[in-house]
């Protein structure tokens, strides 16, 4: 049984004409699979490699470099919430927000809540310093965070 659906395969292959070789599709493919399946399992790596005519070790090598993709045995929750700890955010209260989120959710950065709702992460500067301290909700900036706004956001994400 393959892990990648026909739809995912077609989506990955649609990137091939954009590049002079198939290897360049590695990062797009990893994003597509990670978004859809909330992880990139060993089997998914093998299947991506087959599609792109690579050795699975090559895909694995690229994937693990970025520390962005959740691999075998890990899983992304419904929402990935990153709290920025870059200098601009740190100066305006980021460490306090990270501590608050860890306490409220009962998990550490890098972990997912037991109900699979939220994966909490710290981020290095996310480029939202005009609204520091800032978070990233999946890939959308949430700016000018406060303790109250963080609580409200966590509640919203838990009840989604």
């Amino acid at each position: 049984m393959s892990v990648l659906t026909q739809e995912l395969r077609e989506k990955i292959l649609s990137y091939v004409p954009k590049y002079p070789n198939k290897r360049a599709v590695t990062l797009p493919a990893l994003h597509i699979v990670h978004d859809a399946l909330r992880q990139v399992s060993h089997e998914a790596i093998v299947e991506i490699a087959e599609l792109l005519e690579l050795h699975p070790a090559e895909v694995h090598d690229t994937m693990t470099f970025y520390e962005f993709f959740k691999g075998e045995g890990e899983r992304l929750g419904q929402t990935r919430l990153w709290i920025c700890r870059g200098l601009a955010c740190m100066l305006r209260g980021a460490y306090e927000l990270i501590e608050q989120a860890e306490q409220r959710l009962g998990i550490r950065c890098g972990q997912t809540t037991a109900d699979d709702k939220i994966t909490l992460e710290f981020a290095e500067c996310i480029g939202a310093c005009d609204g520091a301290p800032a978070c990233l909700r999946n890939d959308v900036h949430v700016m000018n965070m406060t303790s109250e706004k963080l609580d409200a956001l966590l509640n919203e994400l838990r009840n989604m």
Binding site: R23, A24, L27, L52, A88, M90, Y95, D130, D139, H141
Partner: protein, 454 residues
């Protein structure tokens, strides 16, 4: 005299991202004129003569970089747009891409024409989700309007524009790291030479340019060299190697200012003017203690230290390509200005900086991988009140030895990791010594917990 923004002129307009509005404001007329009336080499000459220097951090002259593409190369030649803006406290590229993507894309088209590229890859960091979607819509509009793809505006010029998403790694902003990542590999920077203009993406000549640089190209081709050279700081006549600092710059204010925002001004504004006049001053009526003048890799200014060969203090440092160097910093960097107030511990600040570089070192070169880790461990110990007398010398020693300048690493990440350490310790030595002597514990320190035992 007040300055009228050019690069940011459109960002507050409604629907500023749309092709229709951009065209109403004269957008793509410059492209049409360039394609009709100019040869690619004439565009290169105009950009070279404008004195435009890259806005991404290194300040290399853009037009000169373009001339490094081998003459009569059979192709393909690539343009790689560096939209991996990850230098801490920098966000000007994000504003341009989110609010005025067509100004950037017109620069992409003109630059590709100049260097004879037929494909432009825009490498955008993952964290810029909104910018990614805005740019993709703008690119779709271009294809719909015959401004991308085959035979653009009937000129015979072809260009495909491909958006490529990163995955959260600072090193992808280094131009050869970016190229490796684009090729689907780990983003390990390459040994240079060959430089990317000779052998870059997919082993073909590749020009890597920053987003703000490309927006400047649009305006230089539209408004001309005289306009561009009328702004900024001319070369120092006493220094034959100085290339000057011409044109507008997008400065991003962050940290302890009342109004953290992106401001466009001619190169050469002083830190004091930027913070006091445009940023609304230091927050909570406090005093500025340290300034990071261009992204954390550039190091620190100390606001009460006299400025070398100049009036006032380091707070009066002019933000052109030379100013921060005179104050002991690495350079202008990205023009991201971070204010640190007088209530903040430099131990905490330096710990944060070391934490960043330790996390983002790509691991390829041992001195950087290990050195950034050592510096973080020392700072972690110091903020726990367990600093040792020899720590400062060890930190300086490591910071001096890692990097492309001492010749121990392949790319400049380690230089950027060392500079804040060197400048912080040299300029705030008494504060670090006191923290060690008095065993001060940082407000952010939590008791260590046992995560696992084995």
């Amino acid at each position: 005299m007040s300055y009228e923004p050019v690069l940011l002129a459109r960002i507050h307009k409604p629907h500023s991202q749309k092709l229709e509005g951009y065209r109403e404001d004269g957008g793509y007329e410059t492209l049409a004129r360039v394609l009709r009336d100019m040869k690619p080499e004439e565009v290169v000459t105009q950009v070279k003569d404008s004195g435009l220097r890259g806005r991404g951090g290194a300040g290399f002259p853009t037009g000169v970089k373009w001339t490094f593409v081998p003459k009569d190369h059979p192709g393909p030649i690539y343009l790689a747009v560096n939209a991996d803006e990850s230098e801490p406290c920098t966000y000007n590229n994000r504003i341009l891409m989110e609010k005025d993507p067509h100004q950037v894309l017109e620069g992409v088209l003109i630059s590709s024409y100049a260097i004879r590229a037929r494909v432009a890859y825009i490498y955008i960091r993952y964290e810029y989700g909104n910018a990614y979607r805005t740019l993709q819509s703008a690119i779709d509009e271009l294809y719909g309007a015959g401004l991308a793809g085959r035979n653009i505006l009937g000129s015979g010029f072809d260009l495909d524009i491909v958006l490529h998403r990163g995955a959260g790694a600072y090193i992808c902003g280094e131009e050869t790291g970016l190229i490796e990542s684009l090729e689907g590999k780990r983003a390990w920077p390459r040994i240079k030479p060959p430089f990317p203009a000779v052998e870059g993406a997919f082993r073909k000549p590749t020009i890597v340019n920053n987003v703000e640089t490309l927006a400047c190209v649009t305006q230089i081709m539209r408004r001309g060299i005289d306009w561009f050279r009328s702004l900024g700081v001319p070369p120092d006549p006493k220094n034959p190697r100085d290339l000057g600092s011409f044109g507008p710059k997008l400065y991003t204010l962050a940290g302890h200012v009342n109004e953290p925002k992106c401001v466009e001004l001619p190169l050469g504004v002083t830190v004091r003017e930027l913070v006091e006049k445009y940023g609304g001053g230091v927050w909570k009526n406090r005093k500025p203690k340290a300034i990071n003048p261009g992204g954390i890799s550039m190091g620190f200014l100390r606001c009460d230290l006299p400025l070398k060969n100049g009036d006032g203090t380091e707070y009066d440092t002019p933000l052109d390509f030379n100013g921060p160097i005179r104050a002991g910093c690495l350079g202008l960097g990205t023009g991201a200005v971070t204010v640190i107030d007088d209530q903040t511990s430099m131990v905490d600040v330096l710990h944060n900086v070391c934490q960043f570089f330790s996390h983002e070192s790509c691991g390829q070169c041992t001195p950087c991988r290990e050195g950034t880790g050592w510096m973080l461990k020392i700072m972690e110990r110091m903020r726990r009140g367990r600093g040792r007398r020899e720590d400062l010398e060890i930190l300086l020693d490591v910071a001096e030895r890692i990097g492309i300048m001492p010749g121990t690493t392949i790319c400049g990440l380690a230089d950027g990791a060392g500079w804040p350490v060197k400048t912080a310790i040299r300029k705030f030595r008494e504060e670090f010594e006191a923290a060690i002597r008095e065993a001060k514990v940082s407000q952010y320190v939590r008791p260590l917990e046992v995560v696992a035992a084995h």
